[in-house]
Symmetry: C5
Subunit: 356 residues, 5 copies
């Protein structure tokens, strides 16, 4: 959600030089027959490793702490704007087709367990004819399961070209959205349950926080859906015919995520309505209690006050039966008021009315 | 509403092996002249039964308890992603054209009578040149009426190709939506009637529940409408010319369902507005009662309290006519207050004002 | 708003056999030179009447009470789905082009004067090269003015082909929408006027009822607009070149109706906002009255109560000037409170503030 | 906002005969060299005036009081539907291209200073190869500035064809929308200022009235924008190449108006939110005052009442120090209550909290 | 947001003559080899400076105070409508392609630190084959960083044609939007934090002000996005092939801005909901305090008043144990009431309920 360059007027494609860690990143080379991993420490080692009949997956981690990106950029002759996009981890998910290679930016969503907010990690991906380069901000090994599939030769991954590897990585990221969706479903269920017994203002804040997550999720998945649609529809030479059904399947997944998010929006909005009406109902209840007490006792208190006056000439005070008569009158008034409130459905009758 | 694969990074097209029941499913073979049903217990039996001039309908039930799906998949050479979609019953309705065969996922909606929520059952359907395969999660005999039409030769079903059978099955499912729509109409009518006499907070929860059903219904029918539109518009070789008017008719039905759902949304939203205003009005009424009682009796109580003071030098207390005069003053104050409230329309006058 | 067939799984195109009234319907035959009407009692009579150089208008009323529809369907070789659509009077407005003839379903809207709700009557229309057949549910003579134009040779109707007659009939139905629009305008004006003087909850129910009418109207006119657009845009061989400007004009009318309906929606929603704010304002007013009375008299009552205590040692009670002083203090308190409330704008000052 | 024909079933193109004023209208003839104005009293005079190398502008005013329209219609061979549209001044803005001539209906908006509502005047315009005919309902001289530009040869108007004159007239009408927009801006500014100091219900009515104006404005400008887009985009033979940039410029203006109107809608909706929250806040304030007064004095009054009881055996009444002690207790209670309310931020503390 | 011409009917393309400052503006001439700046004081000096192999950037400031615009317009043969658009600084951002040159209007947004409102400065830009002319209202040196890049030969700017200079200028303006977006993010964060502790009505006004900024921002960026899309998509001969990736990148930025603005809208709307519910909750809290105090003490006061009556025959008054018994009864009543309120969750219990 940040702007790209911090000072208006800077030339595009500027990368701040980093005197970071030395060059050091793992490379996985595979084809149908074999698979091996190698640690690269010199950029020249890449040349020896890249072979036309083999696919290579280069994983660059902690991009902001090392000087790898620039060197790889030079080695693969990437456009300067791409290098800038890789380094600036506040990018919107996007796809750029440069003919020889494809550049993708995708965000993995995470939910912060403590604050409940959503944050994303940016994965930049360069897909060439026989290589895939992934760039990630952190040191985390997100893609371990994919690596395992490569080494254990599970599914089709070893029999396909590098575009299938790229698909597998994007598929992995989209699956992460499902995890967030599941977490949100639980949160919304909890909200729905708590709202019926509770009018605490904290519910409103939880609602607001969840709305923000839904808004952010929607923004991310919309961009990713667009990317996958482009991969599938646009006639991209790097995407093999056999990979297309998988991409189509992936596209369906993003639509499914979108629809879940739309449902969340509508359900959250409906919960908000329920909450407001519960608050209003509680107020009505409070006011009914006050009104019943006040309306019954204020007239009685007046009557008591009336005969508490000290006028010399108040004949009623002398009569022996006025006190019991007054008590009777007070009882009648109370009874009449209670009947009136019952008729209005403010007391007992209320319950029966509800059940009707 | 669940994610497809439970662990990010699993290769797509994975079917968990099931050591379930033995192979056992009914097959109906028919053409214009004849129709018969056979129980299949060996996958090889299929070969003998499938004849080019006859149409075959294979019904697979309780897919998650048997090992049929995989065997059928191998027999008909279905794409691995399809088999995964059949087994995973949380799919979004969709259509995939593989040239030789057409794969459809459609959801039948049901309303849970007790919780009032909507749930769906997934029907997967594979349409080939002379066969239709249906896969369903449960053991229920949804399609009995279609079977009867086949055996009793009602309508056109026996004279048409397998695509008409597929149409008949989808039509059957869309008709189920009309049942749900009818049920929702009744619910909304009940809500509309109960709201005018009732401000119980339970109404709000009922409203919320119905909104959720409408949201879920809309999601389902939107996807199904899209499927039918594709069947009708896209030039699919498996769909015969004569079936097109029926599909067009079916498409009109899905639009009619969509429009009903849109109406429900708007009416539910309007009921919510009515409910909120009723709650507000009830509060106003409660407060008017309180205000009238308090405003009349609090000044009177003060006056009574005034002459209840024990000052030695209060000449009024000694005069014989102050008590009746005070009573008169109290009556006048009460009258003035009542007139004031009547003028404001808070008492009797209210009714007349309403009628104006 | 009802589902098409009552039992899922019935074959499409099913017409329930009716042992109703005998065949009996009027037919109007006309061309530029002559016009005459004939009562048909035998279906074979139709053959003699239909002449290629003359246009024929067949009016079938009370379709559900007679066995005419099926016979006419057979005579004109209409598709079975059409016959089903004619008999089922819960159809959505639609258009089907069968080459030789055009099938239209259109709804005439009516407002129920007593309940205030909208209901529709379905008109089915088959347009052939030199004939128009209209089917209607009731016995009402909706189209009398069109008949009169035919007999009195008003306007272009006699000089044009059967497609102009179809246009004239649709135009007549669209004009009915303007009647409903006018009625709604009056209702909304009444609502706007009554809302400024009235916070009765009945207004909310009237608002809700009118919203429902607007929702239903919108649904109907949207479908009809689509039909007319298809008539005008789609290259339909049955529609003559000369009729097109009239259809274009008719299309403009439906847009005008749509725009009125959109305005109604927005104005009704704005009235709802006004209503809610009036209810809130009334509550504020009620509470101000209560607060003013309570805040002034509760302290005074306390003071009076204080000197109504029966302590033996209360020197103030003995002093001759404490009573008048206390009265003075009470006056001052009252004055201060009134000034405070005036400053807050809750009394008199309020009015001036309003005018600012 | 009225329906076109008052009785459903009337043939289209019907003009009610008017025995109005005699034929009388001004005609301006101009080309690059010369310009002159002539009053037409006989329809035949038109023939002499219309010259192929000169442009003619015929202004017909008070159309409903004279019989000019029909005569002009016959003279220029206009379609009967056009004549009907000219006479019926409740038309939606529209454009019809008849090849030889172009027919336009455009509405000029005005704001009624007293009621604050918007009303429109319909201008019908027929553009031929070398003539423009304008029809207006009233007698007003809207187009005086255009006339002046013709006579004083300002700008390009004399050097261009009749289509530029038509453009100039439409441009003039669109400029009228800017006047209304400006007036609305002032009104909204006034509303925004008054809302911060005022919770009078009249604000809500003003808001409602302005919403209605915005709704009506939007409806008008949407139709006019569509017309101008058609003039510019559709390949209309009557529109010269040189006029296109001017039309494009005009189109930009209508978009600018649309955007202003959309902003008005959003700002009015936001003002409504502010208003509602102000009303709610005022209620809170009122209730706080009541609660503070009642909560402090009701317990004190109870204590005073307690010692106002006339029990024979109340030892406290006899002790000399109970009265001052009770007074002290009352002070302490008051102090505690005030501290409690201060802690809650209902009194003084409130102000500081606000500033935080 | 103002109308274009102040008097309807003025001919388009009118520029009011200004007897302003003398001609005086800087011109930067550059190519790959060299760069120099020159002050122009005579319009004829331009002729000598413009060379086909060099790019020229003409900066005109304070357009409304000088007579430069007209002279430059004549010199470069610009269309009169362009000159009018440059002079009228209330233009909507737009693009006009005149073949030989491209005309752009773009707005730079600024946030007024004091009032919190947004205002814009209009930049008009004419792009020719080897020149760029910028026109700005104020004297500010917005484009200093671009000038520096030219003089210091940073990035690609010197190696590219004039279209890249135009891109750099637009990019600079779009970067200004990011500054405003950042400022808005901070404001919204502040709002979110303040709302949880505060129900002051000022929050509502801040919210309203921020909504207005968001509305205005959205209007501006929408128009600019459209311009950049046109530059990139439309086949404009003045835009070089090499500049396209930069424009595509810029287009992504405008989408990113749009999405941020949409998020702001939704979050502001959610904050508004939170605010309203907080106000309602506060009211509930206030009313609970009142109701608890009133409901407990009003019955007690009545009892005290009862035994404060002066009837001669009240036997209870004589009994020695009635006073302590009454006190006990009062304690019991108080206890019962407190339990009742605790059960309702209005006191202590409340806190625990919240935590559940």
């Amino acid at each position: 959600m940040k702007r790209k360059r911090s000072i208006p007027g800077l030339p595009p494609g500027t990368i701040h030089d980093i005197n970071g860690k030395n060059l050091y990143f793992p490379v996985i080379v595979y084809n149908e027959q074999e698979v091996f991993e190698k640690e690269i420490t010199e950029i020249n080692q890449l040349k020896e490793i890249l072979e036309p009949e083999k696919n290579t997956w280069i994983q660059v981690k902690e991009i902001q702490k090392s000087n790898v990106v620039k060197k790889i950029g030079t080695h693969f002759a990437l456009h300067p704007l791409i290098l800038e996009d890789i380094m600036d981890t506040n990018q919107r998910p996007k796809i750029n087709d440069f003919g020889d290679y494809l550049f993708l930016v995708i965000n993995i969503p995470f939910l912060d367990k403590i604050t409940g907010k959503m944050f994303v990690q940016q994965i930049s991906l360069v897909l060439g004819k026989n290589f895939v380069i992934t760039f990630q901000e952190s040191d985390a090994s997100f893609f371990l399961p994919i690596q395992e599939r490569l080494f254990k030769n599970k599914g089709h991954i070893r029999n396909m070209k590098s575009d299938y590897l790229a698909y597998a990585l994007i598929d992995f990221i989209v699956d992460h959205f499902f995890l967030v969706i599941e977490e949100m479903e639980e949160r919304i269920d909890t909200l729905e349950n708590s709202i019926s017994t509770n009018d605490s203002p904290e519910i409103m804040h939880t609602l607001h926080k969840n709305k923000q997550v839904v808004i952010a999720l929607r923004k991310s998945i919309l961009a990713i859906r667009e990317i996958i649609r482009n991969l599938e529809k646009r006639d991209i030479s790097l995407i093999q015919e056999e990979t297309l059904p998988f991409l189509r399947d992936l596209y369906e997944h993003t639509i499914q995520i979108m629809e879940s998010i739309e449902m969340f929006r509508e359900i959250l909005s409906s919960i908000h309505d329920v909450y407001l009406s519960i608050v209003s109902n509680k107020l009505n209840e409070v006011m009914k209690v006050l009104t019943i007490f006040a309306s019954i006792f204020i007239p009685l208190t007046f009557l008591a006050g009336l005969y508490g006056m000290n006028f010399k000439y108040m004949p009623e005070l002398q009569w022996p039966w006025t006190y019991p008569v007054l008590l009777g009158v007070m009882f009648i008034i109370t009874g009449v008021m209670l009947l009136y409130f019952k008729k209005k459905g403010w007391i007992w009758g209320n319950r029966e009315k509800k059940k009707r």
